[in-house]
Assembly symmetry: none
Homo-oligomer: 191 residues x 4
DNA sequence: AATGAATGAGCATTCATTCAT
DNA sequence: TATGAATGAATGCTCATTCAT
């Protein structure tokens, strides 16, 4: 096999890692699965990312950035005439819609096929892997910072927490997301 | 070596599994680690729990029960003169205090040395392991049911969601738990 | 492939490990090479010896025992009329004769195809692997104890040291062992 | 990054290799570990030393030279009024003192921070690596030549052998170095 | 002259699970 | 009923070496 010069390879490995996490979860992420998904030799993944932690951080940080951009681009965060709770409830719906593959619903545009599950994979992994904690923290903070443009920072933090909790329960109980309920409770938090 | 009849063995295996998850996370749970922790032969763990999923469900259901009992026993849920938000914020503090261990503070009595991290491992692992979903769902429902004695069921559900979100963020960002903030936001949810 | 019940397997793995060390040195000892040599699956070697250190200790200790028996059986150690230095010089010759394969000389009877090189492999490995130190120490002590039946313990120790040094130099400089030189120098040590 | 002309680089790589062997043993010597220790790119090590054997030979020959110089500089080898056995026993003590490191005693001046362990790694590795044999042989011969200035060549060779054996046993058994014992036995060898 | 990238082979180890006893 | 033995697959990771630039 020819030794190809492939300057994009590092990026392709990251992209493959994101797809693998999306499909099989972080538990399914291994040098081998990523190499197969990216179509590169095994050694290539360990060359570019000496440890799995490194690869996970790179992949999840990139996913974070895509997510943050998509969120920030939503009109609601610029337009004060829109109802914030309403917008957030809608955001959650979109987010959850992009989630578990078995819904048959294609992921919403702009999420880069990254739904709510990826976030929770990140949370789960960060619980035991200190290397991922900063990435998890960024995830929260980026979203809170975006929300803080429409409310105070402390409330923004709580909104993120409630959104997290609602999401988690929706994912765990099978996905029946109740937008009206979410809207109502988010609204209560906003002073 | 005599093969003793050991009716406690099944229980000892479950207890060992809880300790293992608490110390090393779900990723560290294997027939081998549990057998070593319980001091029983490897074959014994596969005999009593044919698959790891079975063992995880048993272990985590038991952890749930211990938690539920401890929660239900709190006076606040029977005594309407106590401030609910205050009590819940206190509950979170206790729970998180039993957590990551580096605080040096021994876990609160009654948690069965099971802290918040263990429960979130459960929650989050359930995302990818259907076998755990019902156990995770029970967790939410039991707590919500307890809270519903002091408020309406829908609010109770949201309180659980917010508590989940606050907990998760505290665990992941390594930040201090801010009881006053939790109290304030929980109070906003209560109509 | 049928799962055979093979109660001798552990021993066969040890024997294979000794052959591997003899042929390729300790650097060539791996779970894989041993499994191939023993004709057992890879997993079998790790089942019986969880770590390579364990396997190395078992293999080298067994080699030690074979060596010690062979040495102790030599008449010289019981018969005070024989010249000790002479006997030891002869022992070294035999020992070195069993050594490096390229001599074409078949290993002396009784060494179990274990020559001087194996001893030095052991020394080399023990230098960096604490787990092997006790085995290396036993090697020295067993020989010294045998010699101590014909002289005092301190002299015995020095005889072993000189034998070691002579051996080492013979192996390193290509094997021209000079028995007369060895005899003379060993004799000088005996008071 | 500018590609500086760096005439010292080859030397820096050799120095790094010596440090690596000293710290992790020959088994820990790889192009990668050396590159990291020397602070040079991986490709640089393979450029200057096409194979690991080349690097090992260069590194260990340099270690030899440092040792030989230090030994030759000792007064004892020129001053016939000093007791040779006594001096050699002292030399061994110094050498071993620079060794395993857990003594807390800093290596004696003049050894180039190369202790006895490094040299024995060389000796013993040469058993299986023909490329190292000449270097190991030089070691013996240089020391024997220095000793031959105070005694006959054959005795000198035996003194080196005994010193080797004593050293080896001290390193392997972890026992204390007994200078009086060494002195006595070395003295017995001197006619 | 110098080096970052690449890669296939190999490593020790862990594992869930099966099965003979 | 229990369990020690067995095993194939997989894991993260290191490596010497080659090669295009």
């Amino acid at each position: 096999m020819p030794r190809r010069y492939d300057p994009e390879r590092r990026q392709r490995i990251i992209d493959a890692a994101i797809r693998v996490v999306g499909e099989k979860g972080i538990a399914g992420l291994s040098h081998r699965t990523v190499a197969a998904e990216a179509g590169v030799p095994l050694g290539s993944t360990t060359y570019h990312f000496a440890t799995l932690d490194e690869l996970m951080v790179a992949a999840l940080r990139q996913a974070n950035e895509g997510f943050a951009k998509a969120v920030a681009a939503r009109a609601a965060f610029q337009d004060p005439t829109l109802d914030l709770a309403d917008e957030l409830a809608g955001l959650l719906g979109e987010w959850l819609g992009g989630g578990r593959g078995e819904t048959g619903v294609p992921p919403a545009e702009g999420w880069g096929s990254v739904g709510a599950e990826l976030e929770y994979e990140l949370y789960l992994a960060a619980l035991r892997r200190p290397a991922l904690r900063p990435v998890a923290a960024e995830w929260c903070q980026d979203l809170a910072a975006a929300l803080a443009e429409r409310t105070d920072p402390v409330t923004a933090r709580a909104l993120v927490a409630l959104m997290d909790g609602i999401c988690l329960q929706a994912l765990l109980t099978g996905g029946e997301y109740d937008a009206a309920y979410a809207r109502e409770m988010l609204a209560r938090l906003i002073p």
